[in-house]
Symmetry: C2
Amino acid sequence: MMVSAKTSETCRPSLKLRFVNLDTGRENVAVISRRSQALRPDVFRGFSRVQIQCGDKTLLATLLITDDETLVGTDELGLAAPAFRRISEPENARATVSPAPPPKSLDFVRSKIQGDVLNPAEIKTIVDDLINHRYSELEIAAFLVATARLMTSEEMLSLTSSMAVAGTQLRWQQPMIVDKHCIGGIPGNRTSMIVVPIVAAHGLTMPKTSSRAITSPAGTADTMEVLAKVDINPDRMKQVVETCGGCLVWGGHVNLSPADDILISVERVLGLDTIEQMVASIMSKKIAAGVTHLLVDIPIGSSSKVRTPAEALRLRKLFELVGDHFGIAVEVVTTEGRQPIGCGVGPFLEAKDVMAVLENRPDAPQDLREKSLNLAAHLLEYDPALRGGTGYARALELLESGAALQKLQSIIAAQGEPPHPVNLGQLRRDIVASKDGIINGIDCLRINRIARIAGAPIDKGAGIQIFRKIGDRVAKGDPLYRIFASEASGYDLAVRASCEQDGISIDHSPSVDVRTS
Amino acid sequence: MMVSAKTSETCRPSLKLRFVNLDTGRENVAVISRRSQALRPDVFRGFSRVQIQCGDKTLLATLLITDDETLVGTDELGLAAPAFRRISEPENARATVSPAPPPKSLDFVRSKIQGDVLNPAEIKTIVDDLINHRYSELEIAAFLVATARLMTSEEMLSLTSSMAVAGTQLRWQQPMIVDKHCIGGIPGNRTSMIVVPIVAAHGLTMPKTSSRAITSPAGTADTMEVLAKVDINPDRMKQVVETCGGCLVWGGHVNLSPADDILISVERVLGLDTIEQMVASIMSKKIAAGVTHLLVDIPIGSSSKVRTPAEALRLRKLFELVGDHFGIAVEVVTTEGRQPIGCGVGPFLEAKDVMAVLENRPDAPQDLREKSLNLAAHLLEYDPALRGGTGYARALELLESGAALQKLQSIIAAQGEPPHPVNLGQLRRDIVASKDGIINGIDCLRINRIARIAGAPIDKGAGIQIFRKIGDRVAKGDPLYRIFASEASGYDLAVRASCEQDGISIDHSPSVDVRTS
């Protein structure tokens, strides 16, 4: 038997909390003086994990040691910004520090590494330890890698269900809650901001939560934030949906799947993208959001997340399996994923595309318009009152009549003003075709990368406006796209990146070949 | 194509290096001001990995962000202690910071996660990236977990060989270099300090490198440091071996397998102990050390690393496989692992046991003496000049004649004085039997734990002296062992831990049962 944590703490010296001005991202970091009585060198070393007890609050943190007593004195316990915020106690509150016990559920991770199948209770314990920040990043990585190679359907269902109940759970009066989800990767592609108002204008309920960009130049939440406030808590979100039948808010504040947010942050570093984990991640959030009918959009293309119809089929089966298990009607559609959808890439430019479609302007991007109408048509067909096959006509009617535009305006009014006005970047450069020919490919990853270097999504006015798409004929010197930025440093780097590789491939057309030969 | 790192750096503002008084253990940590021009929020966030360029030196580090410009100014780049030491440039030297590209070999780790078998070149790239500190801890964890489930023999050989050439490689004049290695876990058990002088006194060459304790109360290096300096570089080590035919130094300074040191630090956190990784770890160091004949000691016991003869057999086969491949004669012996060897646990007390054996004192622990003689006998039989079967007699002769003692004294003299004199802890408490009976079990993990809480190995005078072993009859109130410590805090905790669970199990003997019933 080990000395229990409780017993050991009683004789640990208590320290005074002190704020240390360090932003450590998602990690909790504590700082202690090397001469502190609480620091026992046999148990504490730099970057070891410690448990901080302050009143009845417990926090796990990574420990740094300092010799600088002006930073943290011998009777103090320094907490870097995120840890100080999470413990939410004033400076000088008394706290004790002890070595962090490894999370109990790490035994299950080790079993999984050895090839065992985990039962629902074991997976639930892991998820509980995750959301209570008991896992260090390397322990999270161990769990992800252990489950990446083989996760049974039962394990995937357990993980989905444990994650779904770990955060906020939205419940609605309406019997039918519809949603759409795109697995992502395509620049532009702001269909949600068109689909939600069409569907809500028809009378269905569509409480859409979206993500902010992580590695892309804009997430739907970033783009919506050009027009309205998106950082809204669950109660306020419910009021908006009550009033408008729909919303477009940032999912982060709603906290639908905190475990998933943690797993994703490590998956990204490792570049892991297992489809079982992706489905568990998406579906846990849909279950928590109370969705009853879900349309999943899988773009297929060589620079998209899913590259072949076979991969898309496998993914569809998993979505259907999880949907059936949790009583969610899931429909999966595959869409064009070879090139950006719409013209704008970056929050401001994408919002401009969305408004052009909703305002029925002649210069509105037709691909974005068509895709949005098709997705809306699928969702509208969930309405039992609508005659089969008439979804598209109904969607078109709601768009052309201005009902959808009016609905988005009322959603904007209900969510409130955006945090600050956004202007399009004043630094602009056209990137032109280096030869005559026909465009036969657009590298979505490259376009995203250049827009991001230009400053998107932090600089909402930065991005790319695309002038030509696949199949278009261009002459040497014709503008292919325009880079927008607000700051010189990002602008210079983006222009340079674009000059090195613009992401557009042009095929010499036969007629050109004939003329020049 | 991506913007090359070189291109991007040219327009990154250069910053002045500044020392930040934070001990971050093994991790490189950099600190930057939130208002720094070099900080582009789209690419840097707290706890992201960055690449620091200073002249022709490159360093990867974890980034923290501060709003406190007295800590790090807007034109400065703060480096915490280990990073500042590793870059070894003065304050105010110019440096640039850019987002760290993920290590290229992470692609191979991802292949391994998907179940592929890695070829030797791929494994070599991973090891190169490891020793150049290009892997974050979570990436190291991903590699370990990916290889924990299945490592083919070829992969294990590749890993061994890549690790063996990644650090210092010792080469010797002598054609035969003998060594012994215990896979560890048993308290006391300081046989190396007896075996090396016996074998060297005979005339064989035994350049022993040992580890310091990581989770145990003493490593051989900690115990030897009670008597002599052990922190010796490879050149000095060679001189000692030239003079004495043997040495007992700390392997850390010799840097035989830096990749292994990195892997072990993460394995420990995860509690992973795959036998393929263990064999690759041990054998890479033996190859790097130029060992030609190796004796491996595998203690078997319920609280030991290896619990059954079947496990020991599997481990033996792996050692033999790797030994044969690299031309090292490997012999594996299994030994008693149910209880501590010798009486002392902790550096001072263990050194006392060793000296008692070498001085042929009547109170010397017989189990330590016998085990050391047997191991030495195996090693001596490697000498072609020695008649088969006479190894034990020769070992006994060298011990009883005082030749072994004299040899250890000359090794001590050659290595030099210990860094500071060590005294046995003045705080002492006897732990006594709670009932009459026969001792039928000693929990090695528990004994190690209590000795460590008492302060070992940092406090070299702390530890446990064991009075009774398995099979001994005790009466209620008889002392079982004595706890030693120098500091009150560790002493109190160790005594309390021991009172909760002393680690000794006592069976009521039949005669006692008869008397009390």
